[in-house]
């Protein structure tokens, strides 16, 4: 039994190849494959040396993680259905008072003085005149009883009311084709959301919780309440809104939390 495989040549007479030769020479074929794999692993090792890429390099790992997080932003934007409504609940299920969370403890909250408070507008907005609390209270109100979900894993059902963000943006002549809406807060917190979420029917500028004015720890006088984003994407004590096409980041987003964080 010969173990030599005839070399494939165009000069060889064309005829049907006897398949049994594959079985007879199985061992040889296997060996060739194994060599190839061995050679392959060696060249892969050589390749990493050539590029000077060190997989243990912390910053290289970090940049991969960041890149995947950005890719996930795109996936989430794709998954976001602007017509899909968040589930709503009954008043009996509402938690009173809501659960507090910020990057500092509740006793460090600095209440906002509503008399001097103004909502500033900037960026791609026609009418940038600032708004007083009284002017905002006069806008039509929308109520949401939705689940607040924190990135940490806890949740509660909250009852929020205030002007619809889309209607507000339309009223001030914002460019609704812009990419981002950025919110800045009195406590140096900030956060930005995609325009699709800003225009979602369940995104409001909340002034009330459980039909009463929001109390200081929860964002008095104005906070964002999206129904389709994690809790940290809802800045409290808002002092300014900016519409922009330049990625504005945000407090936690700049610290590595996923930017889109859509629910």
């Amino acid at each position: 039994m010969s173990i030599r495989t005839p070399s494939p040549s165009v000069f060889r007479p064309q005829r049907r190849i006897d398949q049994s030769v594959l079985d007879e020479n199985r061992k040889l074929i296997k060996q060739i494959d194994r060599r190839k794999i061995l050679r392959g692993t060696l060249s892969l090792g050589a390749l990493t040396m050539l590029t000077g890429c060190d997989v243990t390099d912390r910053s290289a790992v970090q940049s991969v993680l960041r890149a995947v997080s950005e890719w996930n932003d795109g996936v989430q934007a794709f998954l976001f259905n602007p017509n899909k409504l968040a589930p709503t609940y009954t008043e009996a299920q509402v938690l009173r008072p809501p659960r507090y969370n910020a990057y500092y403890e509740i006793d460090e909250v600095k209440p906002v003085d509503v008399a001097s408070w103004k909502l500033e507008l900037s960026g791609l907005i026609d009418d940038k005149r600032p708004w007083t609390a009284q002017q905002i209270y006069e806008l039509p109100e929308q109520e949401l009883i939705v689940r607040h979900i924190c990135v940490e894993g806890w949740d509660y059902i909250g009852q929020w009311s205030g002007p619809n963000l889309k209607q507000f943006l339309q009223r001030v002549g914002a460019d609704l084709t812009a990419k981002y809406v950025m919110f800045r807060s009195a406590d140096d917190y900030s956060g930005s959301i995609d325009m699709a979420t800003a225009l979602h029917p369940q995104t409001i500028l909340a002034t009330k919780y459980a039909k009463e004015s929001i109390t200081d720890p929860f964002g008095f006088p104005l906070r964002l309440r999206t129904s389709t984003k994690l809790g940290f994407k809802n800045p409290k004590w808002i002092t300014s809104i900016e519409v922009t096409n330049t990625y504005p980041g945000g407090y936690w987003e700049d610290r590595g939390f996923n930017w889109h964080s859509g629910l």
Binding site: Q19, V68, A86, E152, G262
Partner: protein, 222 residues
């Protein structure tokens, strides 16, 4: 030509664990470790059970945001690999060949034999009934883990999935329970593999050749 025709069609021999299975097995192993380690860190921020916190030393990601980044990187590797594996298992028939049949009386008999250390490990090309039941079980758990993960990640967009687990916390609990089952499986799986070390070799080199009963693709007519 006539000489070839009178031969019975040659059977095609394959490795117990074809290369594709080995690649998917080790990819899964790495992704599982990423998912479990980072998941423990995420869990620590809001524990389901007051008595249970995972020591930072055995978590992945450092801070919560790092753990989340690892988790949402690992999810792609884990989910796509699992998807490939399930499709492979169904299309090639590996699932039916290796995991079926699995009857309760066989499981009981093999469990008894195993506990008396009388279960044969001579032939590692065939799974015993306990292995079959465990492998079927863990594949199902992994699938539920993906579904509960999606339910936690997208409780609005995939609210129908979240509703399968009652609510958001129900999905978290299911995700935790599946994690615990996977960790439990992992401990038993690794312990038994170390007990019969040639199974580890087989998952690296492919193991003994087996006749999987499939005809070669270009079988000649009878």
């Amino acid at each position: 030509m006539t000489e070839v025709a009178v031969h019975a069609p040659p059977r095609r021999l394959r490795r117990t664990h074809p290369l594709a299975v080995r690649i998917m097995h080790w990819t899964n192993a790495v992704s599982m470790i990423i998912m479990i380690g980072s998941g423990w860190k995420i869990y620590n921020d809001e524990v389901l059970f007051g008595w249970l916190h995972f020591p930072d030393a055995i978590t992945i990601g450092g801070e919560a945001q790092g753990a989340l980044q690892w988790h949402f990187l690992g999810m792609w590797i884990f989910t796509l690999n699992l998807l490939c594996y399930v499709i492979y298992g169904l299309v090639t028939g590996r699932f039916w060949r290796k995991l079926l049949p699995v009857w309760p009386h066989q499981i009981i008999a093999d469990t008894r034999a195993a506990l008396r250390f009388k279960l044969s490990h001579e032939d590692i090309t065939k799974y015993n009934a306990v292995q079959r039941a465990l492998y079927i079980g863990i594949i199902l758990v992994l699938i539920v883990q993906v579904i509960s993960g999606l339910a936690i990640w997208k409780p609005v967009q995939f609210q129908e999935l979240t509703a399968l687990f009652y609510d958001f916390q129900g999905a978290r609990l299911a995700h935790f329970v599946c994690m615990a089952l996977i960790v439990g499986f992992l401990v038993v799986h690794v312990a038994l593999a170390l007990f019969v070390p040639k199974t580890i070799g087989a998952m690296i080199t492919g193991g003994p050749e087996v006749d999987d009963g499939r005809q070669p693709q270009r079988a000649s007519g009878e």
